[in-house]
């Protein structure tokens, strides 16, 4: 429990860093006199966010729903797909390299297909989010599964465990640290995926999601609002990242090197 509370304290660290960066940024902007149209001061951004808090809140909620759903889909597909690909050598050789394509397609280029197949607004934003986030999970899962100690696999082979059983009881648990890396990367990507998805899909509900807010604010040169919206999308990403990190830590801290604190020579 003590260690969990320590983990909680870690949440404070980035907040302090944010504060430090914000102050430095404020000072730098004032000192260099860069136009607020290009780089607004954090205080100005804060003010704008405060004044538009209601609109931004609803936008954030919508984008968060898209990003979270996309992340969930990417996680599920990435882990399942990665496991299948890792288990079947011919797939690993043929499909795995091709899977890179899913993250390389410029979303705007395939937007028509997405929108036509999935409809406007949320579904397309979710799909865009999932498409952008799935490959890191897939790649990390595959590489994690392929790194499972052969010695441990032999234990399962001797017991006549099925591939499915071995996956549940050995491969997956042993790959969790690697998969967590993939999920950490996917956390941020799912947010940007949702935002780009919103660019191309418009919005169904009454209120605009963050992607639309960014677009319109840019058109109107309300750079402080652009940065405010970006900051909110970043917060969605942080929270996702934080949740992934904490879940990962809870799962592996008791047995994996990454969960143990650093040793130092004492004499």
């Amino acid at each position: 429990m003590k260690r969990l509370s320590e983990k909680m304290r870690e949440i404070a660290a980035p907040l302090i860093a944010v504060g430090v960066i914000a102050v430095a940024w404020e000072v730098a902007v004032i000192a260099t006199g860069v136009s607020p149209l290009l780089l607004p001061r954090p205080t100005a951004i804060g003010q704008t966010m405060w004044m538009n808090s209601e609109m931004l809140l609803s936008a954030t909620v919508q984008t968060a729903i898209a990003a979270l759903s996309g992340f969930a889909i990417a996680t599920t597909l990435g882990i399942i797909g990665g496991s299948v690909i890792a288990a079947v050598p011919v797939l690993r050789r043929s499909i795995y390299p091709l899977a890179t394509i899913v993250q390389m397609v410029p979303l705007v280029a395939v937007a028509p297909l997405f929108v036509i197949w999935l409809g406007f607004g949320l579904p397309t934003a979710i799909a865009a989010s999932a498409v952008v986030a799935v490959f890191p999970v897939l790649a990390a899962t595959i590489d994690g599964l392929r790194s499972v100690d052969h010695g441990l696999r032999e234990i399962f082979a001797l017991a006549g465990a099925s591939t499915w059983t071995r996956w549940r009881k050995l491969d997956l648990p042993a790959s969790i640290p690697a998969i967590m890396t993939g999920l950490r990367i996917a956390a941020g990507l799912s947010v940007i995926g949702a935002i780009v998805g919103e660019f191309v899909s418009g919005y169904g509900g009454a209120h605009a999601p963050l992607g639309i807010v960014v677009m319109t604010a840019m058109r109107e040169a309300r750079t402080d609002l652009v940065f405010g919206a970006v900051a909110l999308s970043a917060i969605v990403g942080f929270v996702l990242f934080g949740v992934v990190s904490i879940v990962g830590w809870l799962l592996v801290n008791r047995w994996h090197a990454s969960g143990q604190s650093e040793m130092e020579i004492r004499r």
């Binding site: 929108v115 418009g202 109107e220």
Partner: protein, 318 residues
């Protein structure tokens, strides 16, 4: 349920119609919101949903594929899609004059397209639009620094001697609201397609000619009302898009009026002529966007002139 003859059964079953907009709710769609607000569409037997767009929404593909019955596109999109086999048809042209223009700071000595294109200014333009090719051919913009228009105004505002493409009812309004003195140079003299064209697809048109007609007429009437008193309708649009102020919307409505309203005594709202489509087709072929111009008479259905008296849209077809 398939849309069928509208208005025939009175208020019984409204035909559900979706319209994909190509931008967020703004005065450029004012007539449609006015028609919605005044119930013109429902009087015409339609339950219209205006789907808010996001700037990169593939409107032409959506309507060509039948995903939505109507979408807002540009005239050149109609011709290019048709040239590539898309079955898209323009049925109503919101802007009679090209609303795309170049935005310059007021102090900029440049005043004409020719001056601009022969200068060595930095000009933000959308990649892949035909007017760039046309201007290049015409004035050989050798010294010009063409940069991509990224959808924002920031670069322009901080660079006094730059120019960028704009939508007359959007960026100039924003500058006005901010108190930044700017001027615009229309590109209509070299490239003047219809803009904010309401398009449908051939199949829908063939199956539901009455619906299309009724929709066009209601839209036409909506625009008439909107242009008469935009202040009456803008608050509802602001509610849908709070990021643009009411003040800005009112200014925008005034600016766009001249491009939408027919000159006194000539034509009517939404009008389209084969000559204009032909001219556009030639230009597109000339700048190699398309190889041959598709037959323009199939590319659009000219809206009928409205009844002389400002009456509500026709509600009865026996």
């Amino acid at each position: 349920d398939k849309p069928s003859s509208p208005g025939a059964s009175g208020a019984a079953a409204l035909v559900s119609i979706q319209v994909q907009l190509n931008w967020v709710p703004e005065p450029e769609f004012g007539g449609m919101y006015a028609a919605l607000q005044d119930g013109l569409y429902s009087q015409a037997g339609m339950n219209v949903e205006l789907i808010k767009g996001g700037g990169q929404v593939p409107c032409a593909q959506l309507v060509a594929s039948g995903r939505v019955p109507f979408a807002l596109v540009s005239a050149e999109e109609v011709l290019t899609m048709r040239a590539r086999g898309g079955s898209i048809v323009g049925v109503f042209a919101t802007f009679q004059e090209n609303p795309m223009a170049f935005l310059l700071h007021e102090a900029n000595p440049i005043n004409t397209l020719e001056q601009l294109w022969r200068s060595n200014s930095m000009v933000g333009v959308n990649v892949g639009l035909p007017y760039v090719t046309i201007l290049n051919e015409k004035y050989s913009g050798a010294g010009l620094k063409l940069v991509p228009y990224s959808g924002g105004l920031a670069t322009f505002l901080v660079t006094p001697d730059s120019a960028q493409q704009c939508f007359i009812a959007s960026e100039p309004v924003e500058c006005k609201v901010r108190g930044v003195p700017v001027k615009i140079i229309s590109m209509a003299e070299v490239f003047n397609p219809y803009a904010a064209v309401v398009a449908t697809n051939e199949a829908f048109l063939k199956q539901n000619p009455a619906v299309v007609e009724a929709f066009v007429q209601a839209t036409q009437e909506g625009w008439r009302r909107y242009l008469a008193t935009p202040q009456k309708y803008n608050p509802a649009i602001v509610a849908l898009n709070p990021s643009m102020s009411l003040e800005a919307m009112n200014i925008a409505a005034e600016i766009e009026r001249s491009s939408i309203e027919p000159a006194a005594g000539k034509g009517f709202i939404g009008e389209m002529t084969a000559a204009r489509w032909e001219a556009l087709g030639k230009q597109l072929v000339a700048c190699k966007v398309i190889d041959v111009c598709p037959p323009v008479n199939e590319a659009f259905v000219a809206p009928r002139a409205p009844a002389p008296s400002p009456a509500p849209a026709p509600t009865s077809t026996p």
